[in-house]
Amino acid sequence: KKDEGTTVSDDETAGKTETIKIGVETALTGPLPDYGYAAQVGCELAVEDFSGFTIGDTTYEIELVVLDDKAEPTEAAIVAQTMVDEGVVGVIGGLTTGATLAAMPIYAENRIPQISGSVTGPKANETDFDTFYRTCWNDGVQGEALSVWAQELGAKKVVLMDDNGAYAVGLADVTENSLKAAGVETLRQNCQSGDKDLSAQVANIKEFGADVVIFTGYHPEAGLLRKQMVEAGMSDVQFMGGDGIKSAEFVAEAGGNANAEGCYATFGGFPEAQQPGYTAFAAKYLEKTGDEVGPYAQNNYDALGALVAAIKKAGSTDTEKIIEALQTLEYEGVTGTFTFASATSGAVTRGDIVVTGLTPANVPRYVVKDGAWIAVE
């Protein structure tokens, strides 16, 4: 293994070998270590597959610089500075919207392309940087989808609850706007990530007389909310959420199969079965870690793949050229074939993944059945 930084070594048989650094900004500590770990594994798998590509007679070895931003904005700014100091040609990440927002201006200023595999915040690229790209779907898509789905279920009164975090607030905002536009009555509630007792919120939901509750945060609080709703005799109120609740732990945290049964979740990507490269990827993932594929692992894999593709397309490791290449890149990855949006229009922001044929109605839907999330046909 070569780990000599960007030094160039002569090799008689295969021309030059050069090591390039690619940053992985993830969050192994903080609220979502499982996501952070999956992202890292996704990138490592990609390195195994794509490292050692050649441009001309130069072989490029990829060295990953994995840094932990703890999902905190301030820490992310430091990580971004460090990435700049390390001289990476591109960054995969960050993991969470809040942290990424903080890091983006620094990457942009230093002209380092950044591809996130998991940042789904609708407003992630509000500032319109040409250095930011993502291989996962914008939550705007899920927000619209949740709204459409709730209306399909016949919702008249919907409670939207977030956990005061960037992801949840963003998703709830989009959903709420969409529902309001459709004339559905809504009530907004909040909790803090880490809260245990949601009895006040549950009482408010009950008093409001909601027929659908949409929790846009993550599974620990979602599970508690569902559990406390059932215990307050509200098992007949529909419970929905975004991909933040589509986790196996949700079922246990909601107090078991009975409580979780029939809870709905959308997802920010096509079901695995529809992802062309998924089976192969899952096998590799299993081999490497002994686990099933973690959240957004394949998107991160694709992010790194797309970056490498852009480098090849640019024919150079000059970051300015890579950025240029990304804008017109069409990439065939594990999750499907996609391009990146070149400008902001409506819910789509610059750098968003553009997947052909995607509408709010065919965003993947899941439901808990017998204690497991299964796709809704």
Partner: protein, 406 residues
Amino acid sequence: MSLDHIVTVTIGGLTVGMIYALVALGYTMVYGVLEFINFAHGEVFTVGGYVAAFTLFALGVSDQMSTVAIIGSLLLALVLSMAVPAALGLLVERVAYRPLRGRSRIMPLLSAIGVSIVLQQLIIIVFGPTPITMPTLGISSASVSILGARIRVLALVIITVSVVLMAGLTYLVKATRIGKAMRATSQDMEAAEMMGIETNQTIAFTFVVGSALAGIGGLLVIMYYGSLKFDAGFLYGLKAFTAAVLGGIGNIPGAVVGALVLGLTETYGVSMDLGFLAWFVVAGLLMGLYVQLVLAPKKRLQHISDDRRTPGYERSIANIYRLAPYLAVRTLVVERTDALRSVSARHAVRLMLGNLFLVVTAAVLFANGSSRIDTRWQPVIAFVVLMVILMFRPSGILGKHITEKV
């Protein structure tokens, strides 16, 4: 607001309050004896919850088992979730606090913060960062209907347990020999030794009892909520400590009262219509006027000398609530009577500002008709309540103000 909403919210608030109380009792006990904030207490509580869940999983408890077996397992879990935290408390005391005895008070506090961090990290390392969940059991979700509201039996259990423990602890501290030893140790450790009290054992005992209490809290919480996260202890610890201070730290019934005040305001605050508060403010204004006009003439001199004595900052706060529009207007506009001569113009302005504040509060509350605090402010409520109460009762609700003899 329907009745069942009020009942639901009230029971919810009481339950949260009582859970805070379970943790707060331990805080207060340790504080009562050692006069230091055992920051690690929250983590001990978490460990209790983890041990309970772990035990039940290990025993494979489920509703399929016989009632006897379930109750047996629960009892075992109870014993373990008291014993392990108790042992942990003992260990922590021995390693991190005992060597610091007799040193400046900030040292054990810092040590406790250190221990708290260590314990939290150990929980992460041992159990991982995702929340630990309870096996689902029928009894933990059983509920009864009270006045149209569904109330969980476990909530009632929690409330009962807290009250019983409070009574037991009060008895222990007030009336038993070891309780006396605890009190003596808290006031003067060396003098306690001179009376033949084994202070080390007394303190260890305090830690054992306090930690076991926290363990029970952990068990009940994980049964009630079904899951527990590694950092729950920090949040609960913070709330419980706030409650203990609110009630008057070192005071056992105070801890429960403080916890209830906290739990109820937190829940009421975000789920009750607060428009009615406006009436309290109006009532307050009227009462203040009454005091000033009818009762004050005799008391006024007292106030004035108070005024010379009390530093300005305390005065201005007190005056906001002392409600003396009459006095203020008289001083500024009408003639200056003898009694009022030493009231300064600044004082008068303060009084007017105070009343303005109240009038505005009332107006806002009225104008806002049906007003409810946004749930996102819920965590702030606890701290605001704490600050406001401590401003008026610097030693907490039930705490005694101790004057120093010179």
